[in-house]
Symmetry: C2
Subunit: 336 residues, 2 copies
């Protein structure tokens, strides 16, 4: 039985195609990311290796590589900058897993589960600092600014998210602000780094910055929707994590807004309940089906994907642009 449905725009095509297009550069990035950790302590290199090799899609560094290619950049700095993006992303994953008390990520045991919270916090700090050290060797103040801004926004977004936990009244715009900070700013930074080192106009630079934001928001909405509507074996991690943790993501926000008083009461009870069971979660899914939450979430993700595509409008037609647009479609229709 095939779980992942493949259509002409699905990940089966668009994403693989995208990776194939950038494979050579991606190999260089992977090598650099690991090489830069070999001369540190064994704990740092083992823990980092574990999370870096745990089957992530490398979507963020791939964006850096893609935009460099799209802008006709011909040097090798994009490899270094993509590795910086991967370090920042890895650092945030390490801290997120501690904050969320996660035991699994992408079907594998988390670093905090294997090495303990302390190690994850400190190695996360190390990777963040390492990213800045690499940027300084690269030497562009503008690139450092891009990353430090993203880094500040990420932690700001995470704090905002933490403050909204179990607050069913969280608004859709608060949610959008949170995911813009915690996810989309790094997508945008990944694009900005490459546009910064390329010889392109300010208008196109601004477009690519927007492109990253829109794509990141789209990506996170899909992620949050899959946490309710994907099957575990497809999604690769336990389903219903967000609900368990009381995270106010789009599906739950929409459900609460659309629920009647009685349903609202029940949601309040569930979201504050000590230990949720499978039935509780099934009930929530049933109500979400009643109110068409899944489709509406996907429509909203699509809305941002269209904005992302249109952000590329100033760039001339090219093979790269087609690859990137296909990537967007594949992310939109991804099942995991």
């Amino acid at each position: 039985m095939t779980v992942i449905k493949i259509n002409k725009n699905s990940k089966g095509d668009g994403f693989k195609d995208f990776v194939y297009w950038l494979q050579e550069d991606l190999n260089s990035v992977n090598k650099l990311v690991l090489d830069n950790l070999t001369n540190t302590s064994s704990l740092i290199s083992e823990l980092s290796n574990h999370i870096i090799n745990s089957g992530g899609k490398r979507i963020r560094p791939l964006l850096t590589l893609a935009i460099a290619k799209l802008c006709g950049y011909s040097g090798s700095r994009h490899i270094i900058l993509a590795s910086v993006i991967e370090y920042i992303h890895t650092a945030t994953l390490l801290h997120d897993d501690v904050v969320d008390n996660s035991k699994k990520r992408r079907g594998k045991k988390t670093a905090n589960f294997l090495w303990g919270n302390k190690s994850s916090i400190l190695v996360g700090d190390f990777l963040l600092s390492k990213a800045f050290r690499i940027l300084i060797s690269d030497g562009s103040l503008k690139c450092i600014e891009i990353i430090s801004r993203a880094s500040e926004k990420i932690s700001f977004g995470e704090v905002k998210q933490l403050m909204s936990v179990r607050k069913l009244e969280t608004s859709e715009s608060e949610y959008l602000e949170i995911i813009k900070c915690k996810t989309a700013e790094l997508f945008s930074a990944a694009c900005q780094l490459s546009s910064e080192i390329s010889e392109i106009s300010t208008d196109i630079k601004n477009s690519l910055k927007d492109f990253g934001i829109h794509l990141g928001v789209c990506f996170q909405i899909i992620d949050d929707t899959l946490d309710y509507f994907s099957e575990e074996k497809v999604f690769g991690k336990e389903i219903g994590n967000d609900f368990n943790e009381g995270k106010m993501t789009l599906p739950l926000i929409l459900l609460y807004k659309r629920s009647n008083d009685k349903e609202k009461q029940l949601l309040k009870y569930l979201v504050n309940k000590e230990k949720l069971n499978r039935n509780d979660f099934s009930h929530v899914i049933e109500k979400m089906k009643k109110y068409n939450v899944k489709n509406d979430c996907l429509d909203k993700a699509k809305h941002f994907s269209v904005m992302a595509k249109d952000s590329l409008g100033l760039l001339p037609k090219s093979e790269g642009k087609v690859k990137i647009i296909n990537l967007i479609d594949s992310l939109l229709s991804r099942k995991k």
Copy 2:
């Protein structure tokens, strides 16, 4: 009853004098540190305010101010750079308290105890990023390099320390390497920032860099010694924390090295014991007295304090130099 004994070189004189000398600049730094957090989320500003105002000595930002004065710097960038140092320090304190599971710091409840580990991790991340953002506005790539290097070293040192927990065989040189990274690099960075913005020779810049390292090592040895030999009411936090956590600091390293086989066995038992009691700790203190551990630790701290003082040898005689040398003596003889 006066708990703190004051002699002509003690903190009572040297430290107060030092702060008085820099009071105006310090007020500006305190204001800037808090002002920069007002436009963030309430959690970030409340949590940061709590830890920043929890009675720390501000020794690191004070060093930045002192070195600026010592080098005849006449602008205002040292205020900004001192605030960066305070942010970095605060970020590491927040993460340290989570890693050490501390409930009290300087006699007050820790942020992780009051707001939870999650908030402390994320606000720590935010402050670290904020520090880089401020540095970028300042605009000096060299200053960013100084801070990112220190930041990398700090987390590297913390990781090393974590790996040495309960390892009684840890060597004195491993210990020195750890405290150099986790403490002295930031002391050094605090000095380097001010020497960077001043018009002084490369030789003096290098001296000031060394000065910070030596002073930081001295400071940490005293800190680690006080954790065994200070009285709680003086030290301001629970005594014996390091031993409880199995941290391999200098007093324990020296004790283990000097113990006979039977004593070594008992130390191994104690360091791995689930819950230590007051008697266990008293026993350790007794053995430390037998082997003259306290005095030898203080002598080693003094050794580094002498190196710190001599690092200032290239600088001409001045009021500032006297203040700084008195500060070193006061740190060496501090009781808390």
